[in-house]
């Protein structure tokens, strides 16, 4: 059980780093989808079943489709892309930044005592009950956000608006 969480966390971090450092934008989008899948696995193992299903289906599916449809619009030759954006040089410092950040955090955690105690899950709570009965304000916010998304797509993609 614990080993699966370790492996999924390792996959998550490495897919994220590869998504950032890759030179081709299409491979970055695929790595992002794989990172979403790994995050869904981590969430499932921690006990959040509804959230992990939502994350895998929405982020790994919908967002990747949006990215690939946006990528398919730009048809530049691959050498021009590499020369224009120069991602290999721009993102080259990322592993060093992460190693430095990782070292500082590990020393910080080992010296200061941060007490992280896990409390057992309270079995009275049921996700459906909480979500539909107590989070009405969030649901209103989500409806408004989806409305804005629809309006934004209509406004920004209208052809011939010059």
């Amino acid at each position: 059980m614990e080993t699966i969480i370790y492996i999924s966390l390792a996959f998550l971090l490495s897919f994220c780093i590869m998504a950032v450092m890759s030179r081709s934008i299409l491979k970055s989008a695929i790595y992002l989808a794989a990172a979403s899948a790994a995050l869904g696995v981590v969430m499932f193992l921690l006990g959040a079943k509804w959230a992990s299903v939502f994350e895998v289906s929405v982020c790994s599916g919908l967002v990747t489709v949006i990215f690939i449809s946006a990528i398919s619009l730009s048809n530049m030759k691959i050498e021009d892309v590499h020369k224009l954006y120069d991602d290999k040089k721009r993102m080259a410092y990322l592993p060093y930044v992460l190693l430095f950040g990782g070292f500082t955090m590990i020393t910080f955690v080992l010296t200061k005592d941060i007490n992280l105690t896990v409390v057992a899950q309270s079995t009275m709570e049921d996700f459906q009950n909480i979500f539909w009965n107590t989070r009405m304000a969030d649901i209103l916010g989500q409806i408004t956000a989806i409305l804005i998304g629809g309006i934004a797509v209509i406004v920004l993609l209208k052809e011939g608006a010059k």
């Binding site: 370790y6 934008i25 509804w50 946006a70 619009l73 309270s122 804005i148």
Partner: protein, 101 residues
């Protein structure tokens, strides 16, 4: 090095990765990928907090709302990127240098 501290450290490294990509990239879609990675790290922190204090139902309600907002931000930014592409022919943010001072 319990598993909780390792999850905290992985979360922070993910936010660092996302912010680095957001700041250093020239391609607009890479900037969106950076924002997405950071928001995924935020949802991972929410689930981790729910695991720690026992209120997993409430944490899942928060995470689902955060995922909906993340998708809407991605859609709106992708729309703007396509607008940028129609105007300049590529998705480079170095085209936008008119406002200074």
């Amino acid at each position: 090095m319990t598993i909780e501290t390792i999850m905290l450290i992985v979360g922070f490294l993910m936010i660092l990765t996302g912010c680095y990509c957001l700041i250093r990239s020239y391609h607009m879609l890479k900037i969106i990928i950076g924002i997405e990675i950071s928001m995924k790290a935020g949802t991972m922190f929410l689930i981790f907090a729910g695991y720690m204090n026992g209120h997993m139902g409430l944490a899942q309600a928060y995470v689902i709302t955060a995922i909906v907002l993340e998708v809407v931000v991605a859609v709106v930014l992708a729309g703007v990127t396509i607008g940028l592409y129609h105007k300049y022919g590529n998705m480079d943010i170095r085209n936008l240098t008119q406002l200074k001072g």
